[in-house]
């Protein structure tokens, strides 16, 4: 029977999806504070899941030439260059004779770029203004391009710099809108609590794409179906680690039982705070959040939106009962209006 929390709040999703003796819920903890941006996850995923090519254009978004999670990129490593220091490091350019930072301007240029990812909507163009702010750090440093960068004056020199990297992936939400809106049952909850597109079922209706609050799921142009991370459902079934987590050289991507990962993550944040990295925070770990907690959650070093993540997503289906009520009311109004119109005085 559906759980009282079937649409919102903390929940054991496998149990809710009808699995009687489900194994523990499995997930990813992606610790961006140790990510080296090597993209092994992107490649290992493609190799295992036979994911096609996703475009051969230089995007100028730092070292990100993938651009976004798409149907042809189930892992996406984001790169953000910012003129501020990461908590653990000595300011990178202390005492070098440089001018003001350029990262906001180059980010703005990067926002314009595109590549044919072979998917739809793939990598839509961005807004330069917003891009500029991201690379200006949390406090935007002002109008980029308003003045030419200084030449060695040193006074206005950039001292602080950090390069954030983060391997993004499907969040495998506790309350997965993509799954709930799927009209074919192609998207389904596995016994591991993960969310998977069944490629033998999907008919490419595209509803999941609009429903995902993270912009994860996407459609392949040539084949019409929706594709995303399966958390390597086939590997999980035989007790293997997902391809990306297995490849990840620095344990930035950790795979395991979600409960244990959450404990590990909390400890990691505490350690980082102790070591002078107050900007470390978790994202998607909280079962009380708007999607009931993510099966794939993150340790971030900046606001989520800087990495392209929504800051506080709420699953759309939370409001579904209210929506149906409104629809019912509207339907009754419609029927009543028709009745009144016909039952009214004959001309």
């Amino acid at each position: 029977m559906p759980h009282v929390n079937s649409l919102y709040g903390p929940l054991d999703p496998a149990l809710d999806a009808g699995y009687v003796d489900a194994p523990p819920r499995m997930g990813f903890f992606t610790d961006t504070s140790v990510c080296i941006g090597c993209k092994a996850c992107e490649v290992a995923c493609k190799e295992w899941n036979l994911v096609p090519e996703s475009g051969l254009d230089l995007l100028g978004m730092s070292y990100d030439n993938t651009g976004a999670l798409t149907a042809n990129s189930w892992r996406h490593v984001a790169f953000v260059e910012q003129p501020r220091s990461v908590g653990w490091a000595t300011p990178a350019f202390r005492d070098t004779p440089d001018g003001p930072p350029v990262s906001p301007e180059t980010a703005a240029v990067g926002a314009h770029t595109s590549t044919d990812t072979g998917t739809y909507p793939g990598l839509p163009p961005g807004s330069p203004a917003a891009a500029a702010r991201m690379s200006g750090g949390p406090e935007f440093l002002g109008m980029p391009g308003a003045q030419p960068p200084g030449r060695g004056a040193g006074a206005e020199g950039r001292t602080d710099f950090r390069w954030l990297m983060m391997s993004d992936v499907c969040k495998h939400c506790t309350h997965a809108a993509c799954l709930d809106v799927c009209p074919t049952g192609s998207l389904f909850r596995t016994e591991f609590g993960t969310v998977v597109v069944q490629e033998d079922i999907c008919n490419g209706c595209g509803y999941c794409i609009s429903a995902c609050p993270y912009g994860v799921i996407d459609q392949r142009k040539d084949d019409g179906r929706a594709w995303k991370c399966t958390l390597c459902y086939d590997r999980l079934g035989v007790g293997m680690t997902p391809a990306c987590a297995q490849a990840c050289p620095t344990e930035s991507i950790q795979y395991g039982e979600l409960d244990e990962l959450r404990e590990r993550a909390a400890a990691r944040v505490a350690t980082l705070h102790e070591r002078g990295v107050p900007e470390a925070r978790l994202y998607g770990h909280d079962p009380n959040d708007g999607v009931g907690g993510d099966g794939a959650f993150f340790l971030l070093l900046d606001e989520p939106e800087v990495y392209g993540l929504p800051p506080d997503p709420i699953v759309t289906t939370r409001d579904l009962p209210a929506m149906w009520k409104r629809a019912g009311l509207a339907a009754m109004t419609m029927a009543a209006a028709t009745a009144v119109a016909f039952l009214g005085r004959r001309p």
Binding site: P2, W48, P249
Partner: protein, 189 residues
């Protein structure tokens, strides 16, 4: 498939009768998902290998199905790599199964403008002819003072450092016996 079993397999029926009324999981699992398994599990064989890119020496497992490489991934047993691979190592399957790989001998004749096909045996014999000819043409027996040289400077070789030790051994052995001295490797570069 009988009507009855078809009906009982119909997810709507499963929704109505099973534990998953919302059709979120158990009820909507497809035939494909039911039979899904990791292809490493169904491989015919697995070879223990080593990544061909850098010198860290990450261990790889190479899975083979029907005579084709079906997957290459890190070997978790390795004390060096612990099963991890970088993007290059992770792309090893694409490397060895790439459609861009050349699998036929190609020949460009002097002053030619196009590649031509050549039989492997023919190529081997032609190369042997040329090696012997170049050696004879440029052979040096002794130096000006009569000290032995035993060599040819007419033949050069430059090897990549993805050659196996055994290969390097035979290369060096053969060239040395041939008197070919100018044998070099990426290790110089």
């Amino acid at each position: 498939m009988g009507v009855r079993s078809w009906f009982e397999g119909w997810p709507v029926y499963r929704q109505l009768t099973g534990t998953d009324p919302l059709g979120r999981g158990a009820a909507s699992k497809s035939a494909g998902s039911l039979s899904l398994t990791a292809r490493t599990d169904t491989a015919d064989s697995m070879a223990k290998s080593v990544c061909p890119y850098c010198a860290v020496g990450c261990a790889q497992r190479v899975y083979v199905k029907d005579g084709q490489v079906s997957q290459i991934e890190g070997d978790p047993d390795s004390p060096i790599s612990q099963g991890r691979l970088c993007p290059k190592g992770a792309a090893s399957k694409s490397l060895v199964t790439s459609p861009l790989r050349e699998t036929k001998v190609r020949y460009r004749r002097p002053y030619g403008t196009e590649w031509e096909d050549l039989d492997l045996d023919t190529a081997m014999n032609m190369i042997a002819d040329r090696v012997l000819a170049a050696r004879d043409e440029t052979w040096e027996d002794v130096d000006a003072e009569g000290r032995p040289l035993n060599r040819t400077l007419g033949i050069s070789s430059l090897g990549g450092a993805t050659l196996d030790n055994e290969e390097n051994y035979l290369i060096k052995k053969l060239f040395t016996a041939m008197g070919a001295l100018q044998i070099e490797n990426q290790a110089r570069i």
